[in-house]
Every structure is written in structure tokens, then in C-alpha cells.
Symmetry: C2
Subunit: 203 residues, 2 copies
């Protein structure tokens, strides 16, 4: 097995954190997306969408999409459990992972894509749209703070994939996106410090 | 169990098709989102994000997010299988479902939200961004046509949740979105006719 990665991108980080939480040893190969290495004919055979990460299995099959990669690894290595122990818990964790992805992570990404200097000339940018997404992220972080008032983690009584998605989304927003971490949100801050202090956060 | 639905919206349609494919009898209650019934304090207790569909379980718990609802029902009723028979197949079907969602369905939705008369005054619209999304959908449909050259369905040798997501995304684009179905794409057309002729498509 091998993970095609690009260390600067947020989606590969989701997979790397997941792998680190499970203490798996999977060889990693960097694909320099800034130099277009994810758009070569050879790489597009692995993932025609050009996205990273991609997990190459031992039979040569390639699996793309970070959450699909996590699900495959969860099946192989169920412990520590990050995606649910039975189908009911799997469904509720998927609910939260999707909320964190669709209402936070992906919105932060569209904010950055439409406003960030990094993307200038790489993709068509519509700053007005990006600003709306920034406001949506800020609003979602306020709701997240309220949600975390009564609980330690996003989706369950333990750390799950939903915490990974939320962490990477927030770090994208406040890191590359250059936005201040909303320090007045005490529950969010406590949660962010806790998940950031796990060794996996550096993966 | 009860499904909170709004028949005009695309995400509830995903759940309804899934339920019809499994021939499940689940009571359905309409929530008139046009009249704001999904924003009442009572409904926000069921889903604080305000989205539909929501599945209310027999113990009163509420599960939101169409794909999470599908996963829960798949666990209860594994046949016919729509999300993978083992963890490897589950991962590859999830890969395709995510591609159809993130590269097609969600892009079509953002096109419509940013250009459609329906959303005028309901959400801030940025038509320039919407037009870019329209072009992205058209480009993705061309790729989908090529992908379907060698196979009958999107993700596996049989109908799966990825076909549902793609169908609902295309019907959103060509229906509410008012875009012509790209009739020159023969493989896409053959697939679309096949999945549209299943009784579940009318659910």
C-alpha cells in the first residue's frame, strides 16, 4: 500500500491524521501539485479527477477521496475506532462528518480559493462569492462553539473522523485563509487545543 | 421511523429513491421549506442545520444528511445492496458517490443557487460564480460520458447510491437549472434513460 500525498493540501492531511491515529505505517509519496504532478497522464490514471490523496492498494487499484480512503482503512484496522462501531453509530458519525465537511471545511476551501493570492491565475476567482463564504464559516464556528458546550468531541464520546475534518477545515481557514481564530469562543478553543495537541495533528 | 421530507428539494429525493430501491415502507411527513417550516424552533431541534431530509428513529433520535440516512438504512436492510458488500467495495462506492456529489451534484446546486430566480431574495446570489459552476457541470458531464463508455453503472457492476446522487444532480441541473440535457453524450444518455426508467426514480 502507498499513499500519494501533497503535504500542503488539506485533504491529504485528513488522511494522514487518520492514519496516524491508527498508528499505521503506510509509505507516503509526495506528488508536487504546485508543479502540476497531479495532472500528468500517469497520475490521472490513478485518479482521473486529479485530486489528492490517493491510496494505491497492493493489487495496484487506486482509491481516491480522503473519506473513502479512511473508510477502507477503518475496515482493515477497526481499532481505535474512528467511524463508528455499528451501523447506527456509523450513521451518526457520518452525519457529523458531513456537517463539518459541507458546512465548514468545504466552505473554508471556497473562501480561500476565491480570495487567496495563492489561487490567483490558477483558478477563476470571484472575491464577492469568497467573502460570503468567509461569513458563512464565521457563523458556523459560532454554532460549533454552542454545540461543543456539552461535549468533548464533535460527533461522539470520543475522537472521530468528524474531529479530523473540523480541525483541518479550521486550520485551513485560520492558516492559509489568514483569518483570526475566534478566541472568544471558549468551547471551540478548548476543543481546538485538545485535538491540536494530539500527536496526529502534526502528521 | 419517519422521514421528514420536502418533495421539491434534491437531497430528500436521494433518500426517497434509496428507500424505494430497498422497497421499505417508511412514513413520510412533508416539511414545507418554502414556508419556512424547516426553520421553526421545533424543527431545528430535529436538525439544527435546518436541512432536509431528516430520519426520526423510533427512540426519537433524529438523523440528518441524506447519505448518513442511507447508511443507517443500509445497515438495517442490507439487500438489495446499494453501498458495498464489504469494506473494500464500500470504499470504492463511497469514492464514486463523493465524486458524483462533490464534482456534479453540489456544483449543480451552487449553479442554481447563484443564478436561479427561485433563490432571488432568499440567499445572496453571485451570478458570475454561478456561471462558472455551470461550466464545471458541463465539463464533468463530458467526463462522465467517457467513464460510462465501458460500464453500465457509475460505481460498480450494479446500481448503487452513486447512481442516485448522479441522477438527482443531473435532474437538478436540467430541471430546475433549466439546462439542456447534453444529448450528444450517448453513454450518459443511455445511463440516464436506464436509471430514470427504474420505478424508484419517481419516488
Amino acid at each position: 500500500m502507498k499513499l500519494y500525498d501533497f503535504s500542503l493540501f488539506p485533504n491529504p492531511r485528513r488522511a494522514r491524521i487518520f492514519i496516524a491515529e491508527k498508528a499505521l505505517q503506510i509509505p507516503i509519496e509526495q506528488v508536487d501539485a504546485l508543479a502540476g504532478a497531479n495532472r500528468t497522464p500517469e497520475f490521472l490514471k490513478k485518479n482521473p479527477s486529479g485530486g489528492l490523496p490517493v491510496l494505491e492498494l497492493d493489487d495496484g487499484s487506486c482509491l481516491a477521496e480522503s473519506v473513502a480512503i479512511c473508510r477502507y482503512l477503518e475496515g482493515l484496522h477497526p481499532n481505535p475506532n474512528l467511524m463508528g462501531r455499528d451501523s447506527r453509530e456509523q450513521a451518526f458519525i457520518e452525519q457529523w462528518n458531513r456537517r463539518m465537511e459541507l458546512e465548514l471545511f468545504a466552505v473554508a476551501a471556497r473562501f480561500f480559493q476565491n480570495t487567496g493570492a495563492f489561487f490567483k491565475g490558477r483558478v477563476p476567482q470571484v472575491p464577492e462569492y469568497g467573502e460570503l463564504q468567509r461569513a458563512n464559516v464565521v457563523q458556523r464556528l459560532r454554532r460549533m462553539d454552542a454545540e461543543l458546550a456539552g461535549r468533548e468531541f464533535v460527533a461522539a464520546d470520543r475522537y472521530t473522523i468528524a474531529d479530523i475534518t473540523a480541525l483541518v477545515g479550521i486550520d485551513l481557514f485560520c492558516g492559509y485563509g489568514g483569518q483570526p481564530f475566534p478566541a472568544d469562543l471558549a468551547n471551540l478553543k478548548r476543543w481546538h487545543q485538545a485535538v491540536s495537541s494530539r500527536p496526529s495533528a502534526k502528521a
